[in-house]
Symmetry: C2
Subunit: 451 residues, 2 copies
Amino acid sequence: MNLDRFFNAKRVAIIGVSKNPNKVGHVIFRNLMDSKYQGEIFIVNPNEKEILGKHCYPSVLKIQEKIDMAVVAIPSEIILKVVEECGKKRIKNLVIITAGFEESGNTKLKEDLLKLLKKYKINVIGPNCVGIFDANTQLDTIFLPRSRLKRPELGGISFVCQSGAVGSAILDLATTEGYGFSKFISYGNAINVDESDIIDYLAKDKQTKVICLYTEGIKNGKKFIETAKKVSRKKPIIVVKGGITEEGKKATLSHTGSLAGSAEIYFAAFKQAKVIHAETLEDMFNCARVLEKCVKPQGNRIQVITNGGGYGIMSTDAIIKNNLKMAKMSSSTETLLKRNFPKIVTVANPIDLVGDATTERYRISLGACLKDKNIDILLVVLLYQTPLITPDVVDVVTEFNDLNKKPIIVVSTGGEFTQVLKNSLESNGVPCFTFPENAVKSIKKLTDYYL
Amino acid sequence: MNLDRFFNAKRVAIIGVSKNPNKVGHVIFRNLMDSKYQGEIFIVNPNEKEILGKHCYPSVLKIQEKIDMAVVAIPSEIILKVVEECGKKRIKNLVIITAGFEESGNTKLKEDLLKLLKKYKINVIGPNCVGIFDANTQLDTIFLPRSRLKRPELGGISFVCQSGAVGSAILDLATTEGYGFSKFISYGNAINVDESDIIDYLAKDKQTKVICLYTEGIKNGKKFIETAKKVSRKKPIIVVKGGITEEGKKATLSHTGSLAGSAEIYFAAFKQAKVIHAETLEDMFNCARVLEKCVKPQGNRIQVITNGGGYGIMSTDAIIKNNLKMAKMSSSTETLLKRNFPKIVTVANPIDLVGDATTERYRISLGACLKDKNIDILLVVLLYQTPLITPDVVDVVTEFNDLNKKPIIVVSTGGEFTQVLKNSLESNGVPCFTFPENAVKSIKKLTDYYL
């Protein structure tokens, strides 16, 4: 299934644009006008002549130009009439925002819509979704206002989300935290484009490095396993499954109308499909950042470098609890470090550069550990509260990371000063965490994927 | 042991203030000058006459006034001489920043210091610590600059920390996230004031509502169990133990010189002492916020209210996984809500107020659930991305929370807009979380403590 026109549409129609600025169609229109989208926008509303200075068509049939994709934001009562018109106009790609199908018990409407889609060979993302967003083309059909939900920078994560609220809240958070996205797809009821179709498409999308999926229920399990198995060889897929307890499953029914199935069946399917199963959305995005940014590790032996002893201890505990290994540095590394450091520095694993650690001590340790064949991964604790660490430690870590030799993951806890340096490291391609436990959990997913 | 003079000292001496602005003693002096501390400050350095316009004493013995507490930031080589002078000057309370004792293999120095402390009946916090901070008196002896480590607002959490780096990094983070503190105590090697003495003192401190402890090794286990057992009846104690794996334990030796002991012994001791055991620092502070802010719950039946279906499902999963219960609302509540809400709203558990949820829908649900005897705790998901939720929803939640009837915990995920409203709810006394799983984990600790 070719979904390319959804994201690279040159001409987009928005059907159901009201003059009321609170209405969904209006918000979508304004969002798209405010974005850097370069294509042409057409709006449809039989009751208006013009909205925000833009000519209003009474129906898509009255538009002369070929339309690549249309966004449908109208009441469910007139959905069949509008889709029929789209069919006649030969619009092959629709994002249907409209809700009120099987999730509200209206399966008849769903069946009727499905017949129309078959008749006109139309692909639909949705219905009952919040829209899609492409950070490259800036095609934005998300119905939530930009003042409330920021749009992310361009990056390597694509997020496929059954629940609109989950998708948009996470997108908003991730944007603030500086994650880069390629595509965001809220797929709602998945009437004829499902998670597998989207994953298959994203496999071919060069910008996408990591695929994240939040699902409450996969209807075609066989298709999913086959697709995911194939795709995960090329790029990692991380999945969070909502509704894994009996009580949670019940709640999915009234939400996306999904039959959630038993958790065990899902977990087995994820294993078979070789997807990475994250327990929570937080874990998913932590893991996504590490997989997006880090090179393939050659093993699971981790060296910890820290300027806070307690953080070294907590990191060690986390490494062992996650069944990873503490590296044992070679004797030449040990000799080199001991020669260069004052006695108070502990040269072991963790390397404790102690409270008066300088940027230079980090440079020396990082350089030596990157060369050491007994070390596969570097976990670097950088606590910026001590005055001798200068902000250019960010450049030092970045330079070593740019060599693309071994995964380097940083942990920094702190306030504003810390946050600035963390953001700058992140945007230089180094994943940064607030706590050692989250960092190590993500390293575990990284080694599980590659090794 | 009365530690009151450490925090309420009227006259403080800082011993070892250099002219060099990067030196520890100098930073402490400047920090204290920059704080709102109302007491008198004396500085000691035999080589200087004046620093930053302040007269420099060659020794504490030359100070005329009575000194309540002294901060010692000098090289370990002259520690005995300086402490002897403090003894002669009858200073009974010392915070010793200086390192280089048993953690560096110098047990002889430790023994000699201990003899002096006995001789002069001096209480020491430290050595090998980063200092103490009292948010009420603003007495600040932390040796990290205020530009790098922000000091927190006044609040109900007291943090007792063996590792200085852990303490200061967390203090910095917590301040940025708006947590309020009463006292911060980095106790390092605990030469004659240990974690139990501090906990015992904090039990009597009215400002302290929750005690948090990070420890790598407790030397006197029996004393700890007895103290904690007694104190935890009055207020909750939350503990994180660093060095719970064999490898982690090894690392504690070179850090605070602690013999970490087996994890099982610690866990058993924590259970016996009725302290709350948190796995990570993140869990500790999540739990502390909930315990500081929430009233005692009458049971463990939770009602979820959400405007995002997916969040309702994830919350439900988390509640069940944490062995808590989904509340079943009474039929009168159900009738009332169904009468007031459009059909699209799901009146069950979770209550799904759906994407067009208004502030009014939250008001009605919160009011009804607070009255319902089948409900003990409210977990409220507030996703601010949808335009019909007005910022005054913060006032609505706050008003209900101020009734002090049931614990109310909020979950909001998002960017800047969300963050502003979250901060405002937090400062109104409502604990807010980014993800449902963390919120529910903390609710579990709350019910475990009270029920």
